[in-house]
């Protein structure tokens, strides 16, 4: 039993991008996504459906949009999106409809709310912090240049030679 478990683990434990697609292929046959019979006759509506599909997660897959996945549930969701569009829903109506049934988890772009505040604000805050750090470090920089860098006389000479050779 233990060897069996080990073997199963070995089988699934694979490497970086290689391993990657291993399991994925086992779960779903090669990605095929949108099937010809799903495509809507109205090209504008179809384009809207495709754009929305890219924003929705296939819930039984790992990290794929329903547009990329050919799992049956992804197909159901794609059909649902198209039904709502045919029924005259706007894009946001369709999204609300899907989120009401499946929760925020279905959104590949998480909604902006309290629990995702850090996620959404961190790029801006980090950038601001970086700029602030940069400015303060240039301001408090001591007016001392390269002397006293801890090089011995021989090392300094060697370094100078290297630098001279390069220029």
């Amino acid at each position: 039993m233990k060897t069996l478990r080990r073997q199963l683990l070995c089988l699934s434990a694979m490497t970086v991008l290689m391993a990657s697609l291993a399991q994925f292929a086992a779960i779903s046959s090669p990605a095929y996504a949108v099937q010809p019979d799903e495509v809507m006759a109205d090209t504008t509506k179809e384009a809207r459906a495709r754009a929305l599909s890219l924003q929705l997660r296939c819930l039984v897959c790992q990290n794929q949009s329903i547009d990329d996945s050919d799992a049956p549930l992804a197909r159901d969701l794609r059909v649902l999106v198209r039904e709502r569009i045919t029924a005259g829903d706007s894009d946001s109506d369709v999204m609300d409809y899907v989120v009401a049934r499946y929760g925020d988890f279905v959104l590949l772009k998480p909604p902006f709310k309290l629990s995702t505040l850090v996620l959404w604000l961190s790029p801006i805050l980090l950038l601001a912090a970086g700029i602030a750090m940069m400015r303060s470090s240039t301001r408090t920089r001591p007016l001392r240049d390269t002397d006293g860098s801890g090089l011995t006389a021989v090392e300094q000479k060697k370094l100078d030679e290297i630098l001279k050779r390069e220029t």
Binding site: L11, V16, L17, M18, P30, P36, L108, T116, M134, E166
Partner: protein, 659 residues
């Protein structure tokens, strides 16, 4: 027998690594030359022992020795030879062996080629490098033994996942690992410098070639994975912002920042503290990548083995080296002197901006990747962070980076003149504006921003050429002088030119294919035709076929353009014998305009098939750009080796040899 020999060599390598971790470090501390000198033979023998172990495992794969558990689970006797070999690293245990072997390879390279390093620094670097190898060797020996035998060998193996049986993917991991692991050298140098408490321009000079080598291989490794995904997965995607992809992308971003900050440190002795921190963080991100990939904590398309024991072990390694490195940094950083003053508008200033944007984007990717995990652990809420989030946050950070990129190399050190640089870039700006108009004229459709995106790529490419033209005084000096200058321009300048040009080319490819892809999804009967990307694609029917270890249905499509026959595409659907798994093989016709990409889906009865046909404009620029970046790295590396790594007489003889 050979397997036991390999196993024994692996354990010996572990002991050598333990020895190499301790003895040279003591030697450096007590200033005992003999103790320090043992680091070199130890590093070389560690590599030698791991080579023996690796070759032993490879032998078992080539001879299909199914008494070895690892071979039985991951190989099959009918597999073509090349995939028997690549199967060695196509699994967790074997890939870890490859990982430590590359770790030892870099260590041995420092031991052999680092003749110009001060003895204590060299001893410390090799000791730190050995400690990393020691941690991973312990991991392999205790949790992931590739040499374990089976009591009852099976008649045949379980086979390698068929979608991994592909030439590009066979060599993707070695390149990727060389990149990942190569950053360990920068880490070891940083730790050694912190231990010694001495950091100067020379340090950056020693570290930069290793970082550059790692960066090159990571670049090409990621590009190979992306290229493979494009033609193998059957829907023409080339990047998915999947956690596992992000795991390789984060060290790349941080490594790119490190390359640029080390440049400032080398030339101007500024940003020392920052560069050391970046060296620690870059390798930490490599370790985090290993953790993400092998622990199964994150769900990805590439869902991995969930083995808590292994995951915890790697987490331990990550915490030890990152935490230890950062703690040491916190203790020592305040003693480091800040040198090299510069104005915000200068070469240094532009490189600081580069670092700011690259590090922020690294952090954005990191937070996006880990956020769902942390949130679920903290509150139980489940959210998804997918491509729309990353495109929305990462894109705006890349925009100023790409805009500023051509300015940097045109600015002088210390105090630059942005206005003069802008004047020099006039030609690049005009070229970009022409491209905007041309793209609008060609494509009436698509997002209105797309032509500007393509123009931005062109601006970066032209900016790289402008810098070169300025340096050789193209158009401002007699031809003979220009030729002489072009010849004498250091190779590292050519390296920068190529790498920046490659980035521009990649941007053009990414924007063009994202904005202007054409797609047709339909059912085709034999005799049906469809128009896509200016081509007419006619379905000729499908027939069954048989490969070495798979059955397939091959469809035939005649591709014509106007009256001219262009190509015969043969996309297929395969089912492999072991394991019995379906794959799609795309039919691709490549040209400079872009790729015609055809895949077939389900049999719809009566000889009809579901068909997807795409036209992906300029998509090859993405990988061509990466290849040019790789070559640029190589050109730059060849320059530095001549000047620094080689003995003193080399610079005199080298130019003659180079003619």
């Amino acid at each position: 027998m050979i397997i036991e020999f390999g196993h024994f060599a692996l354990i010996l390598a572990l002991l050598v690594a333990a020895f190499q971790t301790v003895v040279p470090a003591i030697g450096a501390r007590t200033n005992d030359a003999r103790l320090m000198q043992v680091a070199e033979p130890a590093a070389v023998s560690q590599l030698f022992l791991l080579l023996i172990a690796f070759v032993a495992l490879m032998h078992a794969y080539i001879t299909s020795d199914f008494s070895v558990a690892n071979v039985a689970t991951n190989s099959h006797s009918t597999k073509p030879l090349i995939y028997k070999i690549s199967g060695v690293w196509g699994n967790h245990e074997g890939s870890m062996l490859l990982w430590v072997m590359i770790l030892a390879l870099f260590g041995a390279a420092v031991a052999l080629f680092g003749n110009n390093l001060p003895p204590t620094l060299k001893a410390n670097v090799l000791a730190v490098q050995a400690s990393i190898a020691l941690a991973f060797l312990l991991f392999i020996v205790l949790t992931s033994d590739p040499f374990a035998r089976l009591e009852i060998p099976p008649a045949d193996g379980q086979g390698l996942n068929p979608i991994l049986q592909d030439p590009a993917l066979a060599f993707h991991p070695p390149f990727l690992y060389t990149g990942y692991v190569g950053f360990s050298i920068a880490f070891s140098f940083a730790i050694a410098a912190l231990i010694e408490g001495r950091i100067d321009a020379a340090w950056a000079r020693w570290v930069r070639p290793w970082t550059l080598a790692a960066w090159m291989f990571l670049t090409i490794g990621i590009a190979m994975g992306s290229w493979w995904a494009y033609y193998e997965l059957g829907w023409g995607g080339w990047w998915f912002w999947d956690p596992v992809e992000n795991a390789s992308f984060m060290p790349w971003l941080a490594g790119t920042a490190l390359l640029h900050s080390a440049l400032v440190m080398e030339k101007r002795e500024a940003l020392k503290v920052w560069t050391i921190l970046l060296a620690i963080l870059t390798f930490s991100l490599s370790l985090m990548g290993a953790f993400i990939v092998r622990s199964g904590v994150l769900t990805s398309v590439h869902s991995f083995a969930v083995d808590p024991e292994r995951g915890v072990f790697i987490l331990g390694i990550l915490v030890f080296f990152t935490g230890g490195g950062l703690a040491l940094f916190a203790l020592r950083a305040k003693d480091m002197r800040i040198g090299g003053l510069f104005a915000p508008m200068s070469r240094e200033g532009s490189l600081v901006l580069n670092n700011l944007l690259l590090v922020t984007s690294t952090a954005t990717v990191l937070i996006g990747t880990l956020y769902p995990l942390v949130l679920e652990a903290a509150t139980g809420d489940k959210i998804s962070v997918g491509p729309p989030f990353f495109n929305m946050t990462f894109g705006p950070l890349m925009l100023p980076l790409l805009l500023a990129m051509p300015f940097g190399p045109l600015m002088a050190w210390k105090r630059g003149d942005a206005y003069a640089a802008a004047q020099r870039l006039m030609f690049a700006v005009i070229a970009a504006l022409v491209v905007v108009v041309a793209v609008y004229a060609t494509f009436a459709r698509g997002p209105w921003l797309a032509p500007f995106g393509i123009a931005l790529g062109v601006f970066v490419m032209m900016g790289a050429l402008t810098e070169w033209a300025t340096r050789i005084k193209l158009g401002a000096a007699p031809t003979a002088e220009v030729v002489r200058r072009a010849r004498n321009l250091p190779r590292s300048n050519y390296g920068t030119l190529l790498a920046h040009f490659g980035v521009g080319l990649m941007v053009v490819g990414i924007v063009a294919t994202s904005a202007y892809q054409e797609e047709r999804i339909l059912v085709m009967k034999p005799g049906d035709g469809v128009e896509v990307g200016g081509y007419t694609v006619a379905f000729k029917g499908a027939s069954p076929g048989r490969g070495p270890n798979y059955r397939e249905e091959i469809a035939k499509f005649d591709v014509t353009r106007g009256d001219a026959a262009i190509a015969l595409l043969e996309p297929s659907k395969r089912v492999y014998d072991a394991p019995p798994q379906p794959t799609t093989e795309s039919g691709i016709h490549a040209s400079w305009r872009g790729d015609l990409y055809v895949v077939i889906g389900d049999d719809q009865g009566g000889g009809a098939y579901a068909v997807r046909a795409y036209f992906n404009p300029l998509v090859r620029f993405i990988w061509l750009g990466a290849l040019i970046m790789f070559i640029g790295g190589g050109v730059s590396l060849s320059d530095r080796r001549l000047r620094v790594g080689a003995p003193v007489k080399a610079p005199r003889s080298a130019p003659i040899a180079a003619e």
